[in-house]
């Protein structure tokens, strides 16, 4: 029973949200490129700035992946900023004060993050204490513990190996130098895979009798994505190559996208967020799933904590302050629903990039932190209003 063919306009209308976010990102990038050029005569899309963009925002994207699962499950985690600070402090104490090797510090910090997530998830999942309260408490507790652990002071600098977590680059395997051929090859492969996966999904839709998106839109969308990827790849290659962080980020994004869309556990988290009671009566261990999403969040926050510490090359008591808000904002801008059950990884990544590009662009323009906060707040509000408006229409 095929639905009758809809026009291109109707299709765009139906998928306004998904395509709209992409278009918004492109528009915002274009906006800053022009303004920065006109006002300061500086290239916004310079190799260095693109590299910076990723280095500055990697931790938000990484945590947003975990936060999406938490929010899809119908919860929230306010403690991630403090956990970032705390795990950074743990890393500093272990490497700088106790001279642990980096190879031991990284897993230890991830374990610390896991334990923190488990400690909070336990009360949320098994005692049914609202996650807002448990993680608000966690936010205070781990901020306090960070201060205590660092004795109120900065600890640093980190050894080179630890720093490379954030500031390192993948060496050029082809040994050409500049441009970095490895980076170009990797990005080209990634673009090819994206197109191939899109094509496969499109064919599968057709086979299932879902009306596929019109060929024109499919072609344009993929051309834009591929071009953007290649452009970014080329720029990165002409600077210092692929940052380690970008590699970590990309692998995690792909893993989480696969997890949420193609695994039974991922599917169950969505069902749990959509209707917990129905999920439970379908034999799903909802408590354990909630517990695990918080454990996962803890591990990702710990990873982000180490990346932040490595980037600053020291651990400070204030590290990670307010990160939770950026992360949560990215998830909601990316289309997740406050009531749970809805949201996609790709949306969250785009949401985080929108926030990141705005932070970066406004900083370059020298806009004060006061205006920046106001503008970011309004963007979040606008994105969610857009969602609600679309839903009610």
């Amino acid at each position: 029973m095929m639905a009758e063919k809809k026009g291109i306009g109707a299709h765009l209308g139906g998928h306004l949200r998904e395509n709209g976010m992409m278009m918004a990102l492109v528009a915002i990038v274009a906006f800053f490129t022009i303004i920065v050029k006109v006002v300061l005569d500086v290239d916004f899309l310079s190799a260095q700035n693109i590299t910076n963009l990723f280095l500055q925002n990697s931790y938000v994207i990484i945590m947003a992946l975990g936060m999406l699962l938490v929010i899809v499950a119908g919860h929230i985690d306010l403690s991630v900023g403090s956990v970032v600070g705390f795990t950074g402090a743990v890393a500093a104490v272990l490497t700088v004060n106790l001279d642990w090797p980096v190879i031991a510090v990284v897993p230890t910090c991830l374990l610390v993050g896991f334990v923190i997530g488990a400690a909070q998830g336990y009360w949320i999942a098994y005692w049914r204490i609202p996650s807002f309260i448990v993680t608000l408490a966690g936010m205070l507790v781990f901020r306090g513990l960070t201060l205590w652990l660092l004795n109120g002071q900065n600890i640093g600098p980190f050894p080179k190996t630890f720093q490379s977590l954030s500031t390192g680059f993948i060496p050029d395997l082809f040994a050409v130098g500049k441009p970095n051929v490895t980076a170009i090859v990797v990005v080209a492969l990634a673009a090819a895979v994206v197109i191939w996966l899109g094509w496969r999904a499109r064919n599968r839709d057709a086979e299932f009798g879902i009306e596929p998106e019109p060929m024109v839109i499919f072609a344009i969308r993929n051309a834009v994505v591929a071009a953007a990827l290649m452009f970014v790849g080329y720029k990165l290659a002409s600077f210092r190559g692929l940052p380690n962080v970008v590699v970590i980020l990309s692998i995690l994004t792909v893993l989480y996208a696969f997890f949420t869309e193609n695994t039974t556990t991922g599917r169950r988290i969505y069902a749990l967020g959509g209707n917990e009671k129905a999920a439970k009566l379908s034999g799903i261990k909802t408590d354990r799933l909630v517990f695990l999403t918080f454990c996962n969040m803890g591990v990702l926050a710990a990873l982000a904590g180490m990346i932040v510490a490595a980037r600053l090359n020291s651990s400070t008591p204030k590290a990670g302050g307010g990160f939770e808000l950026d992360v949560i904002a990215a998830v909601f801008i990316g289309g997740a629903s406050m009531s749970g059950g809805v949201g996609k990884i790709i949306g969250v990544v785009v949401g985080a990039l929108i926030m990141g590009v705005m932070n970066n662009g406004m900083s370059i323009l020298g806009i004060g932190i006061d205006y920046q906060q106001v503008i970011k707040g309004l963007v979040l509000l606008a994105a969610v209003i857009f969602d609600v408006y679309n839903k009610n229409k």
Binding site: N262, T264, R267, R268, A271, G274, G283, G341
Partner: protein
Amino acid sequence: MTTLLEMRGISKVFPGVRALDHVNLQVEAGEIHAICGENGAGKSTLMKVLSGIYPHGSYEGEILYDGATLMNRSISDSEAKGIIIIHQELALVPLLSIAENLFLGNEVAKNGVINWPQTFQKTETLLAKVGLAEAPTTKVEKLGVGKQQLIEIAKALAKDVRLLILDEPTAALQENDSQKLLDLLLELKAQGITSILISHKLNEINRVADRITIIRDGASVSTLTRAEITEDRIIRDMVGRDMAHRYPDRTPDIGETLLEVSGWNVWHPEQKGRQMIRDAGFTVAKGEIVGIAGLMGAGRTELAMSLFGHSYGTNISGSVKVGGKPVDTSTVAKAVSAGLSYVTEDRKALGLVLDEPIVRNITLANLMGVSKRGVLDKRRETQVAEGYRSAMAIRTPGVFQKVVNLSGGNQQKVVLSKWLFTDPQVLILDEPTRGIDVGAKFEIYSIMNDLAAQGRGVVMISSEMPELLGMCDRIYVMNEGRIVGELSRAEASQERIMALILKDSGKAA
């Protein structure tokens, strides 16, 4: 008699759907006018047009009320004219008192300061009118659904109602509460209040309605006067065909015992020392449909849910055997792998993830069946869902539709598909036809018969006795948490079931 309300040629279009197509409705002053139609026929949409939820201008056609054209922009407009709608889902605030609820948004106040003595006094008068003796300060959450329904009516009376619209008011009520409500409607009629009653229950319509308008597929089919009302005629107009038999034919082929429950005891999850199920035991055989009858609160749902993964109650004890072997049903997953399935009474709240598509709902209880090492095979998943869509005749453009957009009957088929995909030996169906229209009921009955014919055991919990009598090979009667009797198909009758319940209640008293 004068005409109070006339709706002429009402059409309402939603994107892609024509929900109403030139519907006409004429209601005389002082009558009880029933509206009947299958789920999705357009009854609720019509009432939303009337009450201003869909404002003037968003629909075609004309509404004359009291001789003048009605141009509601919102619910408050229609309420100001005395048109008050009581929805199926009650709009009371459980934590507020009766008095606060009655005058919510309509407070007895001067300059925003509430006059409590007067509020309480008025509340008592209104409560007396609807036959309630509760204190005005009682919190609404302490009242049963039946009394809450009466509070809703009292609330309408507080607003000087002239036209009262009730959307399936008795759907969640048990027999005696329903009777009270219908009596009240007749009383209000004597006081000159006009009512529109939307109902599926033909016996109620027979009892109180003066006239009945039947709506099918968004169009008004016929308006019958009291003299013309017969069940057969109503059913024929509703479904557009004759329904010679309300229950599909079936020749039972009953085999050996499949499920055997004995010595089942369950305590209330919160109130200590309150035993909900006492020493219950029953059996179901291959190919058998077994009914569980009882009044609301008899413990039928509690029995089923406690059996199914201990989803209800604490301190559960007793033994469950499937195919002669003792099984552990202490978690839902264990119960499912032991071969049990439970289709809940409350589809929307407990059975479905409403915002997810059909396909995801169907595979939810058995994701293992469409995955390998935790990775979903979406092609296979879609094939499975498509298979059930055609086998169950789920009416939808595709399995990627969200279930929230389906009618009650189709939603129930999705829930049944979900459980069939776990390949259960015994299915426990809790009120499987609640809120489902006549045509879809027949389909659900046929599905149940098919299940039995496949050699599965079916347990049917129902508050509608004719349905139990029409479908079941054996009927257990429950009262106050105990199984108080067992009747074979030949022995069973409404009178005998009621007699068993009353005799037992008499003993306890």
